[in-house]
């Protein structure tokens, strides 16, 4: 078994897409910063304040779950094709899949014929079926996978769902209890306190961090995931879409797209906004005029139109140069990357203006004057003296922008200038389900799944950004 697994994994060919690389760079930067901040009180103090906020920490747990999914989905591989004959060379499938696909295997592959409702055992549309006698009859055919194990679906379904759901729930809660016990034991050792003592402290919220709400959130998420796992193999929890693909699978796959757009966009724009904003504020004069001209010009073009023209042009370029991309995934990925870049171009102006203002305020401060009196070079003053002092603005803007970008993706995909239609994203899901609203009876599950997953992420991001702003913004102190 193990040997088989190892052989399978070693037969995979890793694929590094552009956005994957950037996602991992971002992850490394964040881990690196945490490492760097270790033991530096002035860097830790505001973060410690974030860690005391209850809503902030609940959202951190939620965001962490989403991020884990997105990171798993960012490791891409191509499967080796079965070797027919005795060719030396191994050919790889053109389908790029991720580790998440491997984990979700059954969800991905158990495709039905067309629409089916959540937990359904029958298709959503009537079909003509030929009876053995030669006569035709129109009925709702059984699904190939959804509830296929049931002998008599009408009678047994609800009981089966209940049993599976409850057993999943129990497993999840058990796992949670074990995890919590381990955590308390670890914390007790760290604090050099007794186990029961630590437990009581956590229960009454007497610790520095709001562990009780965090653990509660983790428990809820674990129970939910365990329930989903125990049900998803036998039912389509969110139903299936037009081509019969599982909606739950699509929603989970969309998480990466949303997170990539939310984070990489700001990452892409950050160097420009930082450099230009600080330069404009520090040098003043014609450099300031030039940079101001630049951002006013970009700002004056309505955002959607600029994105639309850019993406349309990119699509023409991609379509006329098909030889540049070896797989569909790399083509879709290129479009995602450029979408991030152009979203960054339309949104860096706000940050740039803020940074310019802040730098202008600071350039007359004594420590800057002292630095220039000592003959410190301009570039060094900007990077060592000004940059660290405006980083709180950068952080607040980046975190604030995140939720807006996730929402914007859905709208842009609707307009037709979002991510590639072949890429899973909430916007694409909503867009393709929109036409089904007119159907009677209505197909609502795709929309619901996309909206619920999006809502949870955006809400968590909004609450987290509030906590970050409360901790970092000097103006909201003690309100």
């Amino acid at each position: 078994m193990l040997a088989e697994n190892i052989a399978y994994f070693s037969s995979l060919k890793p694929v590094l897409l552009w956005t994957d690389a950037l996602v991992f760079i971002l992850a490394i930067v964040i881990i690196g910063f945490a490492w760097y901040a270790h033991g530096k009180e002035y860097l830790q103090a505001p973060w410690r304040k974030v860690f005391t906020s209850r809503t902030g920490m609940v959202s951190v747990v939620v965001i962490a779950v989403y991020t884990t999914v997105a990171l798993l989905d960012s490791i891409h591989v191509r499967e080796a094709l079965e070797n027919k004959g005795d060719q030396e060379e191994i050919y790889y499938s053109v389908n790029v899949i991720s580790f998440l696909d491997l984990a979700l295997g059954p969800l991905k592959n158990q495709a039905e014929k067309t629409y089916s409702a959540p937990f359904a055992t029958h298709l959503y549309a009537k079909e003509t079926v030929e009876l053995p006698g030669g006569a035709n009859i129109r009925l709702y055919p059984r699904l190939k996978y959804g509830g296929a194990h049931l002998e008599n679906p009408v009678q047994d379904k609800s009981r089966d769902i209940m049993v599976r759901g409850l057993s999943g729930l129990t497993a999840g809660l058990l796992l949670w209890v074990i995890l919590v016990a381990c955590f308390i034991w670890k914390l007790a050792r760290y604090d050099r306190a007794g186990f029961m003592m630590t437990f009581k402290n956590i229960l009454h919220g007497r610790c520095r961090a709001p562990w009780h709400v965090m653990l509660l959130t983790t428990g809820m998420i674990l129970a939910l995931i365990a329930m989903v796992i125990s049900l998803a193999g036998h039912y389509h929890i969110f139903g299936t879409d037009k081509v019969g693909q599982d909606v739950l699978y699509q929603t989970i796959k969309s998480i990466r797209t949303a997170l990539v757009i939310g984070t990489l966009t700001t990452l892409v724009m950050l160097p420009f906004a930082l450099m230009l904003g600080i330069m404009a504020g520090y040098f003043r004069g014609w450099i300031d005029d030039l940079i101001q001209y630049l951002y006013t010009t970009l700002n004056s073009i309505p955002g959607v139109l600029l994105i639309a023209s850019f993406i349309l042009m990119l699509q023409v370029y991609i379509d006329t140069h098909p030889d540049l991309f070896d797989t569909d995934a790399s083509r879709a990925d290129m479009r995602l990357l450029f979408l991030c870049i152009i979203l960054g171009v339309t949104s860096w102006t706000g940050l740039c203006r803020l940074l310019r203002g802040e730098t202008m305020k600071m350039r007359t401060a004594e420590f800057i004057q002292a630095a220039s009196a000592f003959g410190v070079r301009h570039s060094r003053i900007m990077s060592r003296h000004l940059l660290p002092n405006v980083m709180h603005i950068v952080l607040i803007t980046v975190v604030l922008d995140f939720s807006g970008l996730v929402l914007a993706e859905a709208v842009l995909s609707y307009v037709g200038v979002g991510v590639d239609p072949s890429m899973h994203s909430w916007g694409n899901m909503i867009n393709s389900a929109r036409l089904e609203m007119a159907r009677d009876p209505m197909v609502w599950w795709s929309l619901l799944a996309a909206f619920v997953f999006m809502f949870i992420l955006v809400l968590a991001a909004n609450l987290f950004s509030d906590a970050v702003r409360d901790a970092f913004d000097p103006r909201v102190k003690n309100r």
């Binding site: 004056s300 639309a308 307009v415 609203m437 929309l447």
Partner: protein
């Protein structure tokens, strides 16, 4: 004042030139007209004759920047850059891919956009201010906390959800108003109600929260303490003193939007089938009609710049301490 306005108008020229250059580069340098013709005519099995014909019909068969075949001024004027980009400055918008006059279309579609956008702005302002005032009045109480949480929740829902569920609830289940469409004159009213309601609900989250912070910032200022020290009641302090001063940032934030109201809202108009400029843009994007997109980029930036100038002027009206020079 007049000198200031004239100077601001002159400043707008380089910005418009910049916008023009950006769109020109995007539409004609990144991809040649040949690429676009191939795109429009279908990628495969396109004969060179068909491409030439497509280009000639739309006036894309000229050199991009410099026409060597011509003499005198025509070296520059008989080019794509002059014909397609510079003409925009004198509001000659040319024709769409299906041969319609873009300027005429814009003029026609401006009014439905305005009919939707103006009520949204006015009623949105009223509801947001009311909500924010209430929260500021009950600040630091449970009402305030619950209100802010509700606002954050409302803010986290996708705008598409409001539209789709609004159409489903009010249009399909209750049959109160038509789901989509538009009519002329007063008959348009029944088509306007639903989009406006949806937009109000969507805007209340971020708008209400933002205005609340503005109010709270005002409440922390010295003059409010003075007013309270005089013995004024909290209600009078809030409505007579705080509201007036808080209106300065609110109104000036609104003025910049005024010209852009003509542009309408992209998704709202497209979902509700309103023949405004927003759906015009979406249709153009879907049909890959680059001529319309190019013109709309230009029109949008002009309106934005007008908005900026109006904002500066409005400062002097609401706050006499500010003088333009």
């Amino acid at each position: 004042m007049l000198a200031y306005i004239i100077r601001r108008l002159l400043y707008a020229i380089p910005i418009l030139i910049g916008v023009n250059l950006i769109t020109f580069m995007l539409f004609f340098i990144v991809n040649t007209p040949d690429d676009m013709a191939r795109m429009q005519l279908g990628m495969k099995h396109v004969t060179p004759q068909a491409i030439e014909k497509w280009k000639a019909e739309r006036g894309y068969d000229k050199p991009v920047l410099y026409n060597q075949a011509e003499n005198g001024m025509a070296v520059i004027t008989n080019t794509i850059f002059y014909e397609k980009s510079l003409r925009l400055f004198v509001f000659e918008f040319g024709f769409a891919d299906d041969g319609r006059d873009i300027a005429h279309d814009i003029y026609q579609r401006m009014w439905p956009s305005l009919a939707i956008a103006l009520p949204i702005l006015i009623f949105g302002l009223l509801t947001n201010i009311t909500v924010a005032m209430l929260l500021a009045f009950f600040r630091a109480s449970y009402i305030d906390v619950a209100g802010v949480i509700t606002l954050v929740g409302l803010m986290s829902i996708s705008s598409l959800f409001y539209i789709i569920s609004g159409q489903f609830l009010i249009g399909k289940l209750l049959h109160l108003v038509p789901i989509s469409g538009y009519d002329t004159g007063l008959n348009a009213l029944k088509f306007i109600v639903l989009p406006v309601l949806v937009a109000l609900l969507y805007g209340i989250g971020s708008g209400g929260r933002w205005y609340r912070t503005i109010f709270l910032e005002e409440i922390g200022k010295d003059y409010v303490r003075t007013a309270r020290a005089k013995g004024l009641s909290e209600r009078i302090v809030l409505f007579r003193h705080v509201l007036k001063n808080a209106m300065i940032p609110i109104l000036t934030g609104v003025v910049v939007l005024l010209p852009l109201l003509f542009m309408g809202s992209l998704i709202l108009e497209s979902f509700f089938g309103v023949p405004g400029l927003g759906s015009y843009v979406i249709d153009a994007i879907r049909a890959q009609d680059f001529a319309i997109v190019r013109v709309m980029v230009f029109v949008g930036s002009i309106l934005y710049i007008i908005g900026l100038i109006l904002t500066d002027i409005s400062y002097t009206f609401v706050d006499p301490r500010i003088r333009l020079s």
